[in-house]
């Protein structure tokens, strides 16, 4: 620990901190543009100047390491004058077009020039003009406003792992650009918009939409992938204008993926806003009563075992729980399934389907093995953590099969299941590596759990890790990477066929059901024959197109709802907006439908539902369930990592124009950077 004096206040800081951090610990505010905690230090904006005893000149505090016995002053006349000087230079070439700038109201330069600047300019010469640069469909540039802090360049190179941004030219003529003005090929690219302290990089889809002070801000959770990034949803009336990241060091740090950020325009398109009933083979808008009547008549005249329900990929846990109650109490059927593929899930203990090393924990892992997964597209935020780990520790990363560019180098080994058998039998070189490693992370993707030999791979690998003491209270090396935000929550609620067999999915394929209720489920792979399909969901997509009755529901921004992320963290998404038109919150639909069929509500109000849900979770998550491991055999087969259509992976993203644009551009992009 180092002892310093900042403005006559004694502070103790850890070794390796900078003067800026020390000053902040002493409660002194230091203005800055180029410095950012998550990025490397550049020290080129000079805004963070402070006075140090025995130094004739003020020092750039962000780049100066703190040392024992330093005496610092952050509020002297000299410092104030220095800041004013720096500010004046920064503003010399800054256009001051705040009235037409999207950053206005949340601009670091604007705020800091109010506090630290002077009130007029002495610069009489012509200002510099920089032509706009093309950076893809998400980032709007206005490079005349750039103050050359290089945060975006450092982010692209360090965090996103796509060294495509750079500064060309020099001095006054320095310009930030992508190589020959191509779109940035990263799923994290839009984070540079948040990083930009001025209005040089702004959001293209949000351009001239609203001012920050007009927006209602709701802190909530993202559902585009299973990571559960913490976000802030900004709404103007009903409309979701934009999505921004919220800091959560345990999950998404400060970043969110482009899909999280920009799929929000999908919340306005293709929405189901009124109930529909199929009459004479044509869907016709109807009233709720008519729709409920059609559904309840059909359900009460059908045998309960002929009715099946499917939970969707973005369904919150309240809805899932209400659906479970609806099936158990109202219909008296067990046919509720949350999977749409035949995945092997051992529900015996909770850790069998969680990402046990934890998102933050992956940073200390010293061996990462990817089996049938492409984390870049399945969990972008997790991938950036793996990259961070790689950059810090040069961690060995191994993948079964080549899954393409992951933004860090990895060793590719054979993607046959024999490799796994060899590892388990201690015949493979990787066995030694696993044994030697202190914190190994084995990441299973959903593509593995789909295989015929999935039970063998999962059970035997788990046994192997247990034998080698890699699963303990201290560290659990076994990780399942789920793709969808509802997956883990549904497993927690035990919404699976009995003993997680494929009974319901098999029956579905053989068209054994007469009524299907899809709770936002659009991914089912079956051929419709005579089934009567009820779709409860928000978007007119695959599910709605085969439906006979459509009951319009709400999306994640339009209702409060719990989600459990891959690590098993229970988080709540809050209502930022309300469902459009006649649409209702999902749990309400189920509740009312139940009252139509049984003349009795499932719940008095939402609180009752939530209490009941939390009770169930508390009971269920602690105890082991009576899961019987089925008989399994080894089968030699290829593990093929399923390619996912990143920009079109769910109904909201598919309805989003921005996402479609991103997809088109990605498909037409020639490879750049360090490929080949």
């Amino acid at each position: 620990m180092l002892k310093l004096k900042v403005n006559d206040i004694d502070v103790e800081v850890e070794e390796g901190t900078t003067v800026l951090q020390a000053c902040e610990q002493a409660g002194a505010e230091i203005p800055r543009f180029c410095y950012h905690e998550k990025l490397s230090i550049a020290g080129n904006c000079r805004m963070c100047l402070v006075e140090m005893e025995k130094s004739p000149k003020p020092i750039a505090s962000c780049a100066m390491p703190a040392a024992e016995g330093m005496v610092l002053k952050t509020n002297t006349e000299k410092v104030k004058k220095a800041r004013k000087g720096v500010m004046e230079f920064l503003l010399a070439n800054h256009p001051l077009d705040c009235p037409v700038c999207d950053q206005g109201g949340e601009c670091d330069l604007q705020d800091q020039s109010m506090y630290y600047g002077i009130d007029k300019s002495r610069f009489k010469e012509n200002k510099r003009y920089v032509p706009e640069k093309y950076m893809g469909p998400l980032i709007k540039t206005q490079m005349t406003r750039c103050i050359h802090c290089t945060r975006c360049i450092r982010f692209a190179t360090e965090v996103a792992g796509v060294p495509e941004l750079g500064a060309i030219g020099r001095g006054e003529n320095m310009q930030i650009t992508t190589y020959l003005e191509k779109a940035m090929e990263s799923e994290l690219s839009a984070n540079v918009i948040d990083l930009c302290p001025v209005g040089a990089l702004t959001s293209k889809p949000y351009v001239f939409e609203a001012r920050p002070w007009e927006l209602k801000k709701t802190e909530t959770i993202d559902v585009m992938d299973a990571v559960g990034s913490n976000i802030r949803v900004d709404t103007y009336g009903w409309e979701v204008k934009r999505v921004l990241p919220r800091i959560n060091e345990e999950i998404n740090e400060e970043w969110i993926s482009d899909k999280t950020r920009y799929a929000c325009d999908g919340l306005k398109n293709q929405r189901l806003d009124t109930p529909y009933v199929k009459i004479n083979n044509k869907l016709k808008p109807s009233s709720w009563d008519e729709a409920f009547k059609a559904v309840s008549e059909r359900i009460s005249t059908t045998k309960s075992e002929k009715i099946a329900g499917f939970i969707g990929d973005m369904t919150n846990m309240e809805t899932t729980y209400a659906a479970k109650d609806f099936f158990e109490k109202t219909i008296k059927s067990e046919n509720l399934e949350s999977r749409y593929e035949k995945l092997y899930i051992n529900t015996n203990v909770r850790s069998n389907y969680l990402f046990n090393s934890s998102i933050e924990g992956i940073e200390k892992s010293d061996l990462i093995i990817l089996i049938g997964t492409n984390p870049r597209f399945e969990a972008t935020i997790l991938n950036s953590r793996i990259r961070k780990n790689y950059l810090k520790n040069k961690t060995e990363i191994i993948s079964l099969g080549d899954v393409g560019d992951l933004t860090y180098p990895y060793q590719v080994i054979s993607n046959n299941t024999d490799t796994i058998k060899d590892i388990i039998d201690n015949k493979h070189e990787i066995s030694k590596k696993i044994k030697k490693s202190k914190y190994p992370s084995i990441i299973f993707g959903q593509s593995v759990l789909k295989l015929k030999s999935a039970p063998y791979i999962f059970e035997e690998f788990k046994k192997y890790l247990l034998e080698n003491n890699k699963i303990s209270d201290d560290w659990n090396a076994l990780n399942i990477l789920s793709k969808n935000s509802s997956t883990v929550g549904s497993y927690d609620l035990n919404v699976l066929s009995k003993n997680s067999s494929y009974e319901i999915l098999n029956k579905l394929e053989n068209n054994n059901f007469e009524i299907l209720i899809l709770f936002g489920q659009d991914n089912l792979n079956f051929e419709k024959k005579n089934e009567f399909i009820i779709y409860i969901g928000s978007h007119g997509d695959k599910g709605a197109s085969i439906a006979d009755v459509i009951l319009p529901g709400a999306t994640y921004t339009e209702q409060d709802g719990y989600f459990t992320n891959i690590e098993g963290k229970l988080q709540k998404a809050y209502k930022a907006s309300y469902p459009p038109g006649e649409a209702k919150e999902d749990w309400q639909i189920i509740n009312e439908l139940s009252s139509f069929i049984k003349r009795k509500n499932l719940y008095k109000d939402k609180n009752q539902l939530i209490d009941s849900l939390i009770n169930y979770l508390n009971l269920n998550n602690k105890n082991e369930t009576d899961f019987e491991v089925p008989e399994y055999n080894f089968k030699s087969e290829k593990i093929i990592t399923e390619e996912i259509d990143y920009y079109h992976s769910n109904v909201i993203a598919r309805a989003s124009k921005t996402m479609s644009e991103c997809k088109n551009i990605r498909m037409s992009l020639p490879k750049t950077g360090t490929d080949n």
Binding site: G166, I168, G169, R170, N173, Q175, T178, Y179, G673, T674
Partner: protein
């Protein structure tokens, strides 16, 4: 100086010739393994020499792959340094120094001559396609101001008339004598030495 323009016409491919490849490899060996990227400036200069004194985009890509670094990083270096030409220059490339000492001694007269006799704008080829010119910062020959650099040689103590003669000679493909144009030896004082007279070897 303003940001460098990238030539609109670009050759498809670039590759080091055999000799340059050997040179490049020996330059890379000067650096510890894994730090081969440090050789980027030297390699860019080699590429410029090989390709008629300018660097096409294909050469930057080639060097980026050669050194296993992102394209943009090579691009950054090439646009930063003024000695890399990113558009074709003449076979005879005039670089006129206009920094203070030269300016005081009439460097802008030389610039006017260049504008008149070569091309109206910097970095634009002359009518016969052989020459181009550029204003540059100090070339370190202030004692002999005003001066300019023609390809690899310095032409010093110039004035408008002398420069006109040089350009005339060049257009006949004659290379004039480099050095001082007032008959000085290197940078020694005019009209014999005035200091250290007693010292024979000075």
């Amino acid at each position: 100086m303003a940001i460098k323009k990238i030539s609109k016409t670009q050759p498809e491919n670039f590759e080091f010739n055999k000799k340059n490849k050997e040179t490049a490899d020996s330059i890379i060996k000067n650096y510890p393994s894994g730090k081969q990227q440090s050789a980027v400036m030297a390699l860019l200069y080699l590429a410029q020499k090989q390709n008629d004194n300018w660097i096409p985009l294909s050469a930057m890509k080639y060097i980026a792959k050669y050194l296993d670094m992102p394209y943009i990083k090579v691009y950054e270096v090439a646009t930063f340094y003024s000695m890399y030409n990113l558009t074709p220059v003449g076979k005879y490339f005039f670089q006129v120094c206009t920094t203070t000492p030269c300016m005081l001694r009439g460097a802008y007269n030389l610039v006017d001559v260049c504008k008149r006799k070569i091309s109206e704008e910097e970095n634009r080829l002359s009518k016969d396609g052989k020459t181009s010119w550029l204003e540059v910062e100090c070339l370190g020959a202030c004692v002999n101001a005003p001066m300019l650099q023609l390809n690899e040689d310095y032409y010093e103590d110039l004035d408008s008339k002398k420069l006109e003669q040089i350009i005339d000679k060049i257009s006949n493909d004659e290379v004039p004598q480099p050095g001082s144009y007032r008959g000085r030896l290197s940078s020694e004082p005019e009209n014999t030495r005035k200091t250290l007279i007693g010292n024979k070897n000075a």
